[in-house]
């Protein structure tokens, strides 16, 4: 009786059943959403918002269109081969006078000076010397007379290139690239091409620190995971101890230890190992030491949690099946720690390539990483475009790494249990 009823009700209600399930699930989903909503909003304002802003700044080109609007309009159909026509000169003269009256000449000057060195003074002198609006038809001669730079195609190409609304100028600049007069992408002049080196240095230091952390952290994590609970807790406190001290204090402690009159050098000299103090700081060595020290816990903790989950039964099984301790470690233990190695390395590497304070304090001029330049452009020269572009490239590199890691880990994992 019951079976017949169920069978009869089954077929026609298949779709409504799904709908009913969805309705039942909805309340739960709302509850889950409500729980994460505060964090989501927080992240939106403090993380996603700024990142979107940074990405926007790296392509935004507002200075010239805003302050020289007529010039930009007049140049819109310029072919770029010869000098622009009289109309453009007249528009520029008008725009400059308006800008001078409004006191905004400095805004396009700064932007255009990135492209052509000395553009700032060209604009300033032109604005200053342009007493009246030139007679119709004489604008070209008047401007060239004031500053011969206006007779140069490159000057106008710079204005056209900066006429917005979006630009690839900063992003290309962050990769040591630029556009030539014809708009083709070429390598930047050697004296400006520093960022590839800086990125390479950043990644080298990041990689070096990651490897050092792995070498130093792996045995510690192994010990932590295999000690009896009491002693491993004590050791864990030592691992976490650095987190209780500020980053700045720890970095300064390294300066005290490593400087030429520092503890290490004095100790070595007292022991008679060296006569002259070793140069241990304000160079790459100091950067590696201090950064490895700061980042070591970020390697140990993921390794520890992975190793803790590896049952000692696996090593016993391997031994009972005839594997020597070395073979068992290499073929059974090590592969199972790889997710932890990956997570720890990714974490340390990503943190390391974003480091600013530590290399700034214990590194030399040749050890400054990309963050130093980002900070330099935001606080010293207020070149938001280039700072954002450098940040965007760094972000892209980090994302790429995360994707690669995700693929690797996904490949490791077992997909879907099938039981029968």
């Amino acid at each position: 009786m019951t079976a017949a009823f169920v069978a009869g009700a089954d077929a026609p209600t298949e779709v409504p059943l799904k709908r009913r399930l969805k309705r039942a699930e909805r309340a739960r989903q709302f509850k889950a959403l409500a729980l994460v909503l505060p964090l989501l909003l927080f992240l939106l304002f403090t993380f996603l918002g700024p990142i979107a802003g940074m990405l926007w700044h790296s392509v935004d080109d507002w200075e010239v269109p805003k302050t020289l609007p007529h010039t930009v309009a007049a140049l819109s159909d310029w072919n770029g081969k010869d000098l622009p026509d009289e109309k453009a000169f007249a528009a520029l003269a008008g725009d400059l006078q308006a800008a001078r009256a409004a006191g905004t000449v400095a805004i396009p000057s700064k932007r255009l000076n990135y492209v052509v060195n000395g553009f700032r003074s060209t604009l300033a002198s032109t604005a200053r010397n342009l007493k009246t609006v030139p007679e119709p038809g004489t604008a070209k001669d008047t401007l060239i007379a004031i500053n011969p730079a206006w007779g140069d195609r490159a000057t106008w190409a710079a204005i056209k290139g900066a006429s917005g609304p979006l630009t690839s100028f900063y992003l290309l600049g962050a990769l040591d690239l630029t556009r030539n007069l014809d708009g083709a992408i070429v390598a930047a002049p050697a004296e400006q091409a520093i960022y590839r080196d800086v990125f390479a240095r950043t990644f080298t230091i990041g990689f070096g620190v990651t490897v050092l952390c792995l070498i130093l952290g792996f045995p510690v994590a192994y010990l932590l995971a295999n000690l009896p609970a009491g002693r491993s807790n004590l050791l864990m406190i030592f691992v976490l101890l650095p987190f209780w001290t500020s980053l700045l204090v720890r970095t300064c402690a390294w300066i005290v230890l490593l400087q030429s009159e520092g503890v290490v050098n004095d100790g070595l000299r007292w022991l008679g190992v060296i006569d002259e103090p070793l140069r241990l700081i304000y160079n790459r060595f100091g950067v590696y030491v201090a950064m490895t020290h700061v980042l070591l816990p970020f390697m140990i903790l993921p390794l520890y949690s992975t190793m803790k989950a590896i049952s000692p039964a696996y090593m016993r099984a391997a031994a009972s099946l005839g594997a020597s301790p070395v073979t068992a470690f290499r073929r059974i233990y090590l592969p199972q720690t790889l997710p932890g190695v990956g997570a720890g390395s990714l974490l340390v590497f990503i943190l390391a390539i974003g480091y600013y304070i530590t290399p700034a304090l214990v590194g030399g001029a040749a050890d400054q990483m990309i963050s130093y330049f980002i900070a330099f452009y935001t606080t010293e020269t207020v070149n938001w475009g280039l700072a954002s572009a450098l940040g965007a490239v760094l972000l892209l590199a980090t994302l790429l790494l995360a994707v690669v890691y995700g693929k690797l880990v996904h490949g490791q994992q077992v997909t879907g249990g099938m039981k029968n």
């Binding site: 049952s311 039964a313 696996y314 016993r316 099984a317 391997a318 031994a319 009972s320 099946l321 005839g322 594997a323 020597s324 301790p325 073979t327 068992a328 073929r331 059974i332 592969p335 199972q336 490791q412 077992v414 879907g416 249990g417 099938m418 039981k419 029968n420």
Partner: protein, 370 residues
């Protein structure tokens, strides 16, 4: 230990000689263990948790070192031999299949670490997987298999390199009852087909009785009795074994006299019983009588019986169990006295009814007092 040359003539594959083990230097987990295991034998170490059975197995596998004494495998002392050189296959309670390797790679592991030729590895792995009927899952990972399948893989992995000895540490503990019973038969068949020597640890007496040639009952670090399953059940040598293996009825009393292997025991509540004198000190000593539930008959009040021992009893309860029934009686102060009845025979018994029970002296064993 000095007679290493002489034991070559014995049949024993594994010999424990005076083995002791302590972890804390105060308590012995294993006390003076002497145990011989013959080639081709299936020996189960049975006992409650903490009885020393797993420690014994771990010493044999090489994961624990005896504090005193020596263990021989094929007449070679192995106390200082690392586990991977002992040529012992082991099946663990939680299978311990390597999660990052496929089933095929797991089974091939003991062969590849021994540097076996590739073609031979393939051949033997295929045979091993065929033996456990899992050839079609060769490329799965352990996480994708059910508990029973994982256990079979662990078995294949422990057997594929033809070890001289296979150890199993409660291998079926994580499986459900039906699967466990099925796997018991499967392991038993494998043992018989391949003629391997197996040392099996369990706390499940049913499992031990089903599979073993001999069972060593452990308690408190001592082997209480080592015997064939039927002997262990029918002829327990002490109260621990009688109580640990199967259902047992205990009656406490005092020995009055001993004569030709039988003794008369006065029960504390009055009355007396004739029993086999198995483990009694002598006249006047306390003893615990052991009678199996199926060796007792219930005699209606007033009826006569030719069984020598007859005691008054009161029915407490009857339990229907399908293929048989149990009557719970109060006999000589023991309120949990079980009598096994054929199905249907419990119908005439009601709570509080006065009956008599009777059993043969041969079926009643006077053992050490509990």
């Amino acid at each position: 230990m000095m007679d290493g040359g002489m034991v070559g003539t014995t049949q024993a594959l594994v010999r424990f000689v005076g083995v002791q083990k302590t972890y804390d230097g105060e308590h012995l987990v294993v006390k003076n263990l002497d145990l011989d295991i013959r080639k081709g034998e299936f020996v189960t170490l049975l006992g409650p948790s903490g009885s020393g059975k797993t420690t014994t197995l771990m010493m044999l596998a090489g994961f624990e070192v005896p504090t005193h004494g020596e263990i021989f495998i094929a007449d070679r002392p192995i106390k200082n031999m690392p586990p991977h050189k002992r040529d012992i296959g082991m099946v663990f309670q939680n299978y311990a299949l390597f999660p990052h390797l496929t089933i095929e790679e797991n089974v091939a592991f003991p062969l590849t670490v021994r540097g076996t030729a590739k073609a031979e590895v393939t051949e033997r792995v295929r045979n091993a997987l065929r033996m456990i009927k899992l050839e079609n899952l060769a490329h799965r990972r352990p996480g994708q298999l059910s508990g029973g399948q994982q256990q079979r893989v662990a078995l294949a992995r422990a057997l594929v390199f033809n070890p001289q000895l296979v150890l199993m540490d409660e291998p079926l503990g994580a499986l459900d009852k039906r699967l466990r019973e099925h796997m018991q038969l499967e392991i038993k068949q494998l043992h018989e087909q391949m003629g391997i020597t197996v040392v099996y640890v369990t706390h499940d007496q049913g499992e031990a009785l089903t599979m073993s040639d001999r069972i060593a009952v452990f308690n408190d670090g001592i082997v209480q009795q080592i015997d064939k399953p039927d002997a262990l059940y029918e002829q327990p040598v002490n109260s621990f074994v009688a109580n640990f293996i199967g259902e047992n009825n205990v009656l406490s009393g005092t020995v009055e006299n001993i004569e030709q292997g039988f003794c008369r025991v006065a029960l504390a509540s009055g009355g007396s019983v004739v029993a086999q004198a198995v483990n009694v000190q002598g006249p006047g000593a306390a003893t615990a009588l052991s009678v199996r539930p199926e060796r007792i008959v219930i005699v209606p009040d007033g009826a006569s019986t030719d069984l020598a021992n007859r005691l008054p009893a009161t029915v407490q309860d009857t339990i229907y169990l399908g293929d048989h029934a149990l009557a719970v009686l109060k006999v000589a102060g023991n309120g949990e006295f079980m009598v096994k009845l054929p199905p249907g025979a419990h119908a005439g018994l009601g709570h509080g009814q006065a009956v008599s029970i009777a059993f043969r002296p041969e079926d009643c064993r006077a053992l050490d007092p509990v």
